[in-house]
Symmetry: C2
Subunit: 440 residues, 2 copies
């Protein structure tokens, strides 16, 4: 990583921060301070942070500098999406209903990060209840464009070098899409890899905590912490990966830049020695996008928001009200039929992956859309979320207005390490390190 | 139901309460008042309730008597296990760490019950964090014996005619085991049937909300509310059920009374016209009990309690500390291998159920054990919880000291309605209505 951006430590990735602090070349406080400087410079425009208390962040960093124990993330500042509980900062879900709400404890993921020595730098802006109503966050590459959502603040803060990594959650495409729009890595592990205690549900049967970061090494480092493992280096493939080019039923919705990114990556990877063959998803996958985006989400949203619907309906956004109304009209039978279809497709995945290590798929329809009224279309990420497979955004390309365009890699369930190893190989061949994030 | 117990309305089931109130034969307030009278008489011994506020319960009932809208549970008092959030009552998880904790909102299941017109009568005692450390609750049939757990208060309150039904949760056997020990019906639906927003997780990949009640009609009525369906009558089989007698690898751990209950029920059901054949679970099921009870539970418990472990370790029970220590020693590899095994077994279920409607299995090792130091062994229920199949306790038998002994019926995933229909048939043939609950 180039440490010159903003002149300081905030541009380092977590892996480099850990190394520098361990070597005595810098301190936890200095790292946090440089992140805070960057935020002070830029957050008036980017609006990535909510409930932000620089003194609390510095106090954590200073305490770590005086601590005898050093965890694997000693001194690494982390952003936490504001649908995830923190005991020492408000957690408001971007909803006036929860203005000033202070949870009694940390979410499991936050507690595990603190145990590892992370500095919880602050809460990042989220769409209302991780749904559709956007935060005020802008895309650091162009403030007229959405950063994507619902992990909007996490993506923008990481891309803008305010923090090396941030927690997000994905129910449709809320980690991978903003990562694509903002030009960073986004990783959604296999469902149920990272414990969700203390995370406000959207659709709990598919909600998945994920990472937004500026390096694959960081994804591996951070993932090990939330899996309660010892630090793991980014895994390596022992031979060139076998890649399935999977255009999916959403291909016609892809903008030229997304088609160019996927097809261009496939060609470049084949040239670099990967086995690349086209995979057509079997018939039951047709229509899966609607089940993933609508049936499951609507029904579960209506259930999990029952309290807010009955007590605070007027304080919900029009988008959320529409969502819940749709859920109240979704029958139990359709919901169960949706799950039967998803499970039918999941059972076909070993066939889809036959002889392949990963799938290469479109990640988002194109560049980040203009305007902040919508965070874009999550359908291309959502089918994999519903299937519970791990998936990852690589920030490999740019679109017609020079905004980032990512590609998506998908692994088999529980095969996250192979996905990360393939991602490393792919990134070495088609990655453009100067694509990562926004350089002011 | 016999309305003469304790001389009053508290002995009615929910179905009868709804009918009586709709017919103008009684009021919501009168029903709640009779439940409160019973609690006042008996809870000094039974200790089923925590954070109990009779005035709050009566206020809800009076408001319902004045409401113009009538939901399907209009005026039905319900007990709520104290690991489930309520906005107007403390939620303390039976832990000093959360003494006085007031959640900002209702859990989804509680909000849906209120929407249907239920009176949230109060919070019921739970093992600490729905784990192993017992509440003070006693078994209404014999105060020297455990009521089972972790839904201890829910089971005891329902059995003692303090409330017609109560919410419980099951991660191992926390709904079905106390139902068996207390002589009531316990129903754990297919995993992910009832939304878990607002329920403190134990092991979220298997945690399931369930019902404890004194009639199968109530189970059907209450289940429809949490599924967001219109009221459903208890389903009926169009012909005699086909039943698989499944003794499982735990058969040798069964006391004579459990063996007699299962074998006796099988013989009586065959005589009554059911097809009954013995089912031997395939080889991969061997050892599943250890994965279900230990690997998955330990690992996820260590994750979801990370905050309490790091900040309040001394306030955790020795049982919980041991659990978490075991979880911290459980490797990620073993956890994932555990899931692979569970999924392998799940994929075999269509073969296990081939030509069968339900399985008949042992429910608990025997009568409720003596003493209150342990809530008994949940292994017989736990394998089905991990498999995500629906399961149900029927209070059919008694043991050597005249305490209740239930049998367990198990259905296929998403096939809950068939399970309920079979339960109805089975109950008509081998049920003993005077077995239900405790008659003081």
């Amino acid at each position: 990583m180039d440490a010159k951006v903003s002149g300081s430590l905030n541009a380092l990735d977590a892996t480099a921060i850990v190394r520098k602090i361990a070597a005595g070349e810098t301190t936890c406080e200095a790292v946090t301070r440089d992140c805070l400087v960057r935020i002070a410079e830029r957050d008036g425009v980017v609006k990535a942070w909510v409930n932000f208390d620089p003194e609390l962040a510095l106090a954590q960093a200073r305490a770590l500098d005086h601590a005898t124990h050093r965890g694997p993330l000693h001194g690494v500042p982390i952003g936490v999406k504001d649908i995830i509980d923190t005991f020492d900062m408000p957690t408001e879900f971007n909803s006036p209903i929860y203005k000033g709400h202070r949870p009694p404890s940390d979410a499991a993921c936050v507690a595990l990060l603190r145990r590892a020595g992370a500095v919880i730098l602050g809460k990042t802006a989220t769409c209302e209840f991780a749904g559709m109503a956007p935060a005020e966050t802008t895309n650091p590459h162009n403030v007229a464009n959405t950063p994507g959502g619902s992990s909007s603040g996490s993506a923008a803060a990481v891309a803008d070098h305010m923090v090396p990594a941030a927690l997000g959650t994905q129910t449709g495409g809320s980690v991978l899409r903003p990562s694509s729009y903002c030009g960073i890595f986004g990783f959604k592990p296999t469902y149920n890899s990272f414990n969700k205690q203390g995370v406000k549900p959207a659709a709990e049967s598919i909600d998945t905590i994920g990472w937004l970061a500026r390096s694959l090494d960081d994804i591996a480092l951070l993932t090990a912490v939330l899996r309660m493992q010892a630090p793991q280096p980014l895994p390596t493939m022992s031979s060139a990966p076998r890649i399935g080019l999977t255009r999916t039923e959403m291909w016609d919705d892809a903008q030229p830049e997304t088609k160019a990114a996927v097809d261009g990556a496939a060609a470049a990877l084949a040239k670099a020695g990967a086995t690349v063959r086209e995979v057509k998803l079997p018939e039951p996958f047709t229509g899966l996008r609607k089940i993933a985006r609508e049936t499951i989400n609507f029904y579960e949203r209506a259930a999990c928001m029952a309290y807010e619907w009955d007590h605070h309906r007027a304080a919900l956004s029009p988008q959320m009200r529409r969502y819940i109304e749709n859920g109240l009209k979704t029958s139990r039978e359709d919901y169960v039929a949706g799950w039967h279809r998803i499970e039918q497709c999941r059972a076909l995945l070993p066939t889809v992956f036959d002889g392949l290590d990963v799938l290469l798929a479109p990640c988002a329809p194109g560049e980040a859309p203009k305007g902040l009224a919508s965070t874009g279309d999550g359908t291309m990420q959502a089918i994999w979320t519903a299937l519970h497979t791990p998936s990852l955004t690589l920030p490999t390309h740019r679109g017609p207005t020079n905004l980032p365009v990512g590609i998506q890699l998908v692994g088999q369930r529980y095969d996250d390490d192979r996905l990360l190893a393939c991602a490393r190989w792919v990134w070495q061949k088609v990655g453009a390190p100067d694509m990562i994030g926004y350089r002011a």
